[in-house]
Amino acid sequence: MTVFLRILLVVGMACGVFTPIGGAVASDAKPLNIVFVNPGKTGEVYWDMVAQTMQAAALELDAHVEVLTSERNYRIMQELGLGVLARSDKPDFLILSNEEAAAVPVLEAAEAAGVKTLLLSNTLIGEDAARLGPPRQKLKTWLGDITTDLQTAGVRMANALIRTARAEKWQSPDGKIHILGIGGDEITPASIARNAGLKLAADAASDVVVDRMLFANWTQSEAEQVTTNYLSWASRKGIRPAGVWAGNDPMALGAIKAISTAGLVPGQDIQVVGLNWSEDALRAIKAGRLLLTDGGHFLLGGWSIVLLRDYADGCDFAATSPHVEVKTSAITRANLASVSDLIRTRAFERIDFTRFRARAGRCGQYDFSINALISSLAPLEGTAD
């Protein structure tokens, strides 16, 4: 993987050399110096892909992104952030993710150091949000945040399940459609949002019951365990389970495994939905075992560079809102073919990020939809090996 990353880096740098020459938007000065403190672990697909799209975008948008990995340790994350701020050669922007609400001290330190910050994926919540207020007020250097609308994703996933179940008439003897929800955890805003989406959808449908909202710590094995438990319980209760709503792909795959073990055929007797656009999920969709996988939010990395490029060039996204919320999209068997290669190969340089920059006079208004994405993709040939 590192070898692969290095290759990517070399390719990206090569592209950067060429962009100013052939680029539509020329930067007047030096390239943007951006540091991203990655909260995830090396090898953690989502955060790796965030960093990769970030760097792919940087190549195209005359920026330099330094990625520091905190290996899922919020202390390391804070140390890394504070270390960057203590440098003599400070970066132009610091991208942080407020995982476990650990970004706040770094945010405040950046204010003192005069380094502009952008929160990615996880913004301020709860008390911190109330105390520090909206971006650029108390913390002048906090430019804003870019997040995904995961609640809508949750709703979309649930509705897909409900539609299928209704169509297949998978109601239980009580006439209700019984669904199992599997969440990653109960405290992360990203998790809470998608779970809320499930609840919204279920509440809206009077014929739908979410029997349980189970939590599997984002992992496949735990999801498999709780699904097994659920199926056994449901059979004792005389319930016909119609679908499993999983907060991410690994948990959806765990559920699929448990369903198979229980003697049911996923996709035929029961539907499963996931989220993350992971490769395994795409394969499961292809195999007809997974109904859909929502996601695409790893693209936040690329989109954040777009925002900062526009900001640096004077088109401040805050003109619309300092909070930029990006909708996710579902990959189903219908659109699987268009994006599966992109994801499988991670050739994010195929994406023409320049096409996503804000139009003049419409600062802060972006179209990051999957359709826009698909149309921005360069053909496969000649782009990568």
Binding site: R212, F215, Q225, V226, N229, W233, R236, K237
Partner: protein, 686 residues
């Protein structure tokens, strides 16, 4: 310490039964109650503690169930069954919990853990597992915990054991403490008092109880000691009074026996001689009668003072009562010295005393006994000396008689006879012999004198002179007289049968009978019984019996005379020989004492006296009888002097009736001198 030992030793012998029983009774009375109360109380406490422990355990397990239910609710609802199991496992550290299980809302056991087989009393608690979040509140299942009371039972058991042991130990300690304190506070003072009483009982002195405490026993002891003190004084006085003569202050008869016991112990050697003087004042009765009892007492005090003055310090003087004194000299060299000492005492007594301005010369007799200190019969000294005294009094008043073998032999014989009197009567050992009275002129037998003899199985025939005083002393006079009277009446019958109704029989009447008014009536009755005339009977009396009781004697004599009996005055001439008596009493005969006869015909004086008596009798119309005629010359002399009748061996010795009757048969024929073959041991008794 020694005192303490002395105090406690007698306790152990005398007191323990009492003090122990008091203490034991106290212990028996209190300890079972104490034990029962203690056991009941501790059992009650333990039972209540047991129930509260059970309740606590129930409550605790319920709390455990509830808290576990809370913990388990989420993993159960969220189907994290591994977590459910691990949470459930945690509670198994509680050793009272035997098993636990969690059931979901379908009733299926999600988790089940068993700690140990439930072989003992097991209780179960079941609690619902409620799950709630912001949106829902559901019952996700149940938790059931099975737990055992074994630990409570074990705890309670060991507690009970502990309480039992503690209770027993406490009771034991109480018993020991009670024993000790009862011994100290009750037993010891009681023992001290008992010991004092015991010692007081032993030697008659009043001992105080040695108690120093100020409690009730101390007060009791004080009261007791005060009483002892009072008793002590009284006992001392009583003791002195008991052992001393109040009049003279001399030791009394009681002291004598005590003193005798110590005599042999105090003696230097068993061979040293002890002189025992038994002193009896002669005619003290006379002094009392003459001068009055106060003077008699004064007289006795004088005598005692003299005796005291006459003896040495080692000598011992006592008054036995009345006019009897004892002086003991614990050591004399020989009998002669003892005798000298006794005489010395007599001399001291015999100094004249002035009573009511009259000079009185006291006289006394002394019986002296000398014995070795080692003599086992030392305690008999008073009796031995009394024998000697008896001898002195009877033989030689105003002298000292020394006890010797002969005296003792006499004494023993006397004693034997005295004891044999009742047997003598019952076995008919007393026999009446008869001696004839002869008409000196015609030589015809005119009468017989009944004379009593004792045919003793060991001593043979005993004369009346020896045994009559014994009869009199033993109070058998009347019995003997009736015996003789009866025999005489029977003899009269036989005389009549033998064709000699003219022969009369004389019996001797002792002074006591003379005083008895009923005798005359009895004589008449007896005569009537045997169908003999009272006129055939002659009653012989002595002057002495007349003097002592003149009035009643006269009365009796008159009655007898009226019956027809004749009265003879016996032994005339030896006693008062009062001519007035001859005149005053209704006498028929006078018997001249043989003392006047025996010297006749040799003694002219006796002849003269008999002559005078004969002429006097002749004048008064009294028949004269001469006693003790042993020779024909004497008979002749009497006849010549005008004595009508004679009696004596010259004619006839006293013989049993059969022999007499036989002899009378021969008398009818030629004059023959058949002498009875009986021994002449006793003179005729008058």
């Amino acid at each position: 310490m020694r005192n303490g030992d002395d105090m406690s030793n007698p306790d152990r012998k005398a007191a323990p039964s009492r003090s122990r029983s008091v203490v034991r009774a106290m212990i028996w009375a209190t300890v079972p109650v104490l034990l029962v109360v203690q056991l009941l109380a501790s059992a009650g406490v333990e039972v209540s503690s047991f129930w509260s422990q059970i309740k606590q355990l129930d409550a605790r397990i319920a709390r455990v169930a509830e808290s576990r239910a809370e913990l388990i609710a989420e993993p159960l609802w969220k189907m994290r069954y591994d977590q459910v199991t691990s949470v459930l496992n945690e509670i198994m550290h509680d050793e009272t919990i035997a098993a636990a299980a969690v059931y979901d809302d379908t009733g299926v056991a999600i988790a089940r853990v068993v700690a140990r087989p439930a072989d003992q009393a097991v209780s179960e608690v079941s609690r619902p597992i409620g799950y709630r979040n912001g949106n829902i509140a559901v019952e996700a299942g149940r938790i059931v915990i099975a737990y055992s009371y074994a630990t409570v039972y074990a705890d309670t058991g060991s507690q009970l054991m502990l309480l039992l042991v503690v209770g027993l130990l406490a009771t034991l300690a109480t018993v020991v403490a009670m024993r000790i304190s009862a011994n100290i506070f009750i037993g010891r003072p009681l023992a001290a008092i008992t010991s004092a009483i015991q010692r007081s009982k032993q030697d008659g002195r009043a001992y105080p109880a040695d108690i120093k405490s100020s409690n009730e026993f101390g007060q009791l002891a004080q009261a007791f000691n005060a009483m002892q003190h009072t008793t002590s004084g009284a006992l001392d006085r009583l003791g002195h009074m008991a052992s001393h003569d109040p009049l003279t202050g001399l030791p009394n008869r009681r002291s004598l026996s005590e003193h005798l016991v110590t005599l042999s112990h105090d003696a230097g050697s068993p061979d040293s001689l002890i002189a025992f003087c038994f002193i009896d004042l002669d005619d003290f009765k006379g002094i009392n009668d003459t001068f009055g009892h106060d003077s008699g007492d004064k007289f006795l005090v004088h005598i005692s003072e003299r005796l005291r003055a006459a003896v040495e310090p080692q000598d011992w003087v006592a008054r036995l009562g009345g006019d009897e004194f004892v002086v003991i000299r614990p050591e004399v060299s020989n009998e002669a010295t003892a005798q000298a000492f006794a005489r010395q005492l007599l001399d001291a007594i015999s100094e004249p005393i002035r009573l009511h301005d009259k000079q009185v010369v006291p006289r006394a007799s002394i019986g002296l006994a000398v014995r070795r200190a080692g003599d086992p019969e030392l305690s008999h000294l008073p009796a031995l000396a009394d024998i000697a005294l008896y001898h002195a009094k009877s033989k030689a008043p105003g002298t000292v008689a020394v006890l010797d073998e002969a005296l003792q032999r006499d004494y023993r014989r006397r004693r034997d006879l005295e004891l044999a009197i009742p047997a003598g009567f019952t076995e008919g050992q007393f026999e009446v012999w008869y001696q004839s009275q002869v008409d000196l002129e015609s030589q015809a037998v005119v009468g017989l004198e009944a004379l009593i003899r004792w045919r003793h199985p060991e001593h043979g025939i005993i004369g009346p002179g020896e045994f009559l005083p014994l009869i009199e002393r033993s109070g058998n006079n009347a019995r003997l007289t009736r015996y003789v009277l009866t025999d005489a009446c029977r003899a009269l019958q036989r005389l009549m049968a033998a064709g000699k109704p003219q022969i009369r029989i004389a019996i001797n009447l002792p002074p006591s009978e003379l005083a008895d008014h009923s005798f005359a009536a009895e004589l008449r009755a007896t005569c009537a019984r045997f169908d003999v005339a009272p006129s055939s009977l002659e009653l012989e009396i002595t002057e002495g019996s007349l003097i002592n009781n003149i009035a009643s004697a006269s009365e009796t004599l008159h009655r007898l005379r009226r019956l027809g009996a004749t009265i003879a005055l016996d032994d005339f001439g030896t006693g008062y020989s009062s001519l007035a008596h001859l005149r005053r009493f209704p006498l028929d005969k006078v018997k001249i004492d043989k003392a006047f006869i025996s010297e006749i015909p040799g003694s002219a004086e006796d002849k003269a006296i008999v002559g005078v008596i004969a002429s006097l009798a002749g004048t008064l119309g009294l028949t004269l009888v001469a006693e003790g005629i042993e020779q024909a010359e004497q008979a002749e002399a009497m006849r010549e002097m005008g004595v009508m009748l004679g009696q004596g061996f010259h004619y006839h010795r006293p013989q049993p009736l059969d022999a007499v009757l036989q002899w009378l048969e021969t008398q009818a024929a030629p004059e023959s001198r058949v002498l009875a073959d009986s021994p002449s041991i006793a003179p005729e008794f008058a």
